[in-house]
């Protein structure tokens, strides 16, 4: 543990988070079906080693909001757990705010916060305010500063009236707001959010997102977020890290993601009349077709040629070239790389 008095100052140009070749594998007990196998496994278990995170390298600058995107089981949460010190990596290094997370030094833990959308820290039977007071004591925040932070956050999250109701009487969305407030009471510099909007309705999702963006702007906190709601990520994060099968597939700005991993565009056409034999296959791949409206997928570098060919060969009323929706891009990435 670092002696008291030494603070790990970090400078604006220094990354808040860096990881190098971070790997995590789990040993999973293996068992064949059947009684004999069950008995055998009592005495001798076979394990298989499953890699959950493979050679993950990235660095995050202060004040960034970064989104981890990937399907279930991709390694997002495992990465987050290593960065918050809950899991030891199998190999590789990570540094957050100058600390090695899995040493779990109090001086480190006081500067971060972890919110898990699926797991509540609030005391079910009591008003949220009581859980807040416990949290302040755990983090050693002094009373007056604590009260001030509660007031500020309650204002931002519009939850003044909710604080006095027992948590069990709150809606899921209201509970999530209280949960967020609770985890920010000690003003963490780095905020880890694991599926913060899971199960919450759309309006509440939007408000929670807005709040996260506000908090980031107001306090300059770094936010690292995992979600499989695309909207969370597209609304909040300028930068995206796509993870699948434990490895990073993409790390960069959202716009570049579409460019890089979606090397195609969509051509939407309106026809004068229906085509009796469908679209001639050499013109492009049809994605949707309803009566006289067609959408084609065409490689980016073939757009010009395809457009002129379509205009020449078909009775076109209207034609537009579009970027594919981000959801589709991501889905296609996960499918291709499997």
């Amino acid at each position: 543990m670092a002696p008291d008095g030494i603070t790990f100052a970090y400078h604006a140009h220094m990354p808040v988070v860096t990881t190098a070749n971070l790997c995590k594998s789990f040993r999973v007990p293996q068992r064949e079906p059947g009684l004999a196998a069950a008995l055998r496994s009592v005495f001798r278990r076979k394990y298989t080693v499953t890699p959950a995170v493979v050679d993950v390298c990235f660095s995050i600058e202060p004040g960034e909001i970064v989104g981890f995107l990937g399907p279930n089981g991709a390694g997002k949460t495992t990465t987050l757990k290593m960065l918050t010190g809950l899991l030891h990596p199998t190999s590789g290094t990570a540094s957050v705010l100058g600390h090695t997370p899995w040493k779990r030094e109090p001086a480190y833990l006081r500067r971060i916060s972890l919110v898990m959308g699926q797991r509540s820290q609030l005391n079910w039977d009591l008003p949220a305010m009581d859980s807040f007071l416990v949290q302040l004591a755990v983090y050693g925040v002094d009373d007056s500063q604590g009260r001030q932070t509660i007031d500020e956050l309650a204002e931002l999250l519009e939850l003044k009236e909710l604080l006095k109701k027992p948590v069990r009487n709150l809606s899921l969305g209201e509970r999530m707001k209280c949960e967020l407030c609770l985890s920010l009471l000690h003003r963490p510099e780095v905020l880890f959010l694991d599926e913060p909007t899971i199960g919450v309705d759309i309006t509440m999702q939007t408000r929670i997102r807005q709040f996260i963006a506000d908090y980031n702007r107001r306090y300059g906190a770094t936010v690292i977020l995992t979600s499989h709601y695309m909207a969370d990520v597209t609304a909040l994060c300028k930068r995206i890290i796509v993870i699948n099968h434990g490895a990073i597939l993409f790390d960069g700005p959202l716009a570049a993601l579409v460019d890089r991993i979606a090397p195609f565009k969509l051509i939407a056409i309106d026809l004068e009349r229906e085509l009796p034999n469908g679209l001639p296959p050499h013109l492009g791949e049809v994605i949707t077709a309803e009566a006289r409206k067609l959408t084609l997928r065409v490689p980016k570098d073939a757009i010009a040629a395809a457009t002129s060919r379509i205009l020449a060969e078909l009775p076109v009323l209207d034609l537009t070239v579009q970027d594919p929706p981000i959801e589709d891009v991501i889905t296609s990435v996960f499918h291709v790389k499997k």
Partner: protein
Amino acid sequence: MLNATTMTRYLRLIRILLGVSLQNETAYRFDFLTKVAGSLLNVCGELFTLWAIFANARSLAGWGPYEVVVLLGVFRVMVGLVGMVIAPNMRAVMEDVRSGGLDHVLVKPVSAQFYASFRNWVLFRGLDGLMGAVMIIVGCTLLSARVSLATLALFAITIAAGAVIIYSFWLILATTTFWFTRIANIEMVFWNVFHAGRYPLEVYQPWVRWLLTFILPLAFLTTFPAQALVGRAGLATLLTSLTVAPAMFLLATAFWHFGLRRYSGASA
């Protein structure tokens, strides 16, 4: 390590946790009444058994009736301690390991063992402790034993050792969930065995006595403190208590850390 500021912070934290737990309980007033009634009935049952025994015998393995009242008092104090803070917290640890809720404990900037051990308080169970204290005082009065300062000190040390041992024992039980995930009815098993502590160690066969001292350290929880108070304990009791209690605590703490390393995958 522990210094003055950390100590005050931890004490403040305990105070706040106590306050929150108290509110939690006042939310269920009926539950409170049933708990009180349950404790009273238990004590009555124990005294009734005692009365039945001493109607037929003059002593129980060398213990007179009032001495056994003192022993039952110590037993009740331990019941109170376990019910008030040890069992609720260890139950929560077992539940948290299974559900993954332990993550929330581990990201806190306080000792995980401390926080996991003192999060929950069932204050009404302290009533058992009070009843136990009353039984101890009444027993001593009826014995008209002269309780010297030295006796009191010996009692304080042995009962504190008993408390540390029972905590360590529970922590070890709770820590096994890191491997076994679910241990059905472990608490029932504990209480059933624990009830053997209502009688002086001497009533049992020598090998059971040995078992209850060194394997399931029940002797430390009830017999030794009661012995200390009624003037039956000597230097040997004091020294065993002073050795076994810290040893158990260190063992339990080491085992807990070993369990945590498994939880975080550091040992794999």
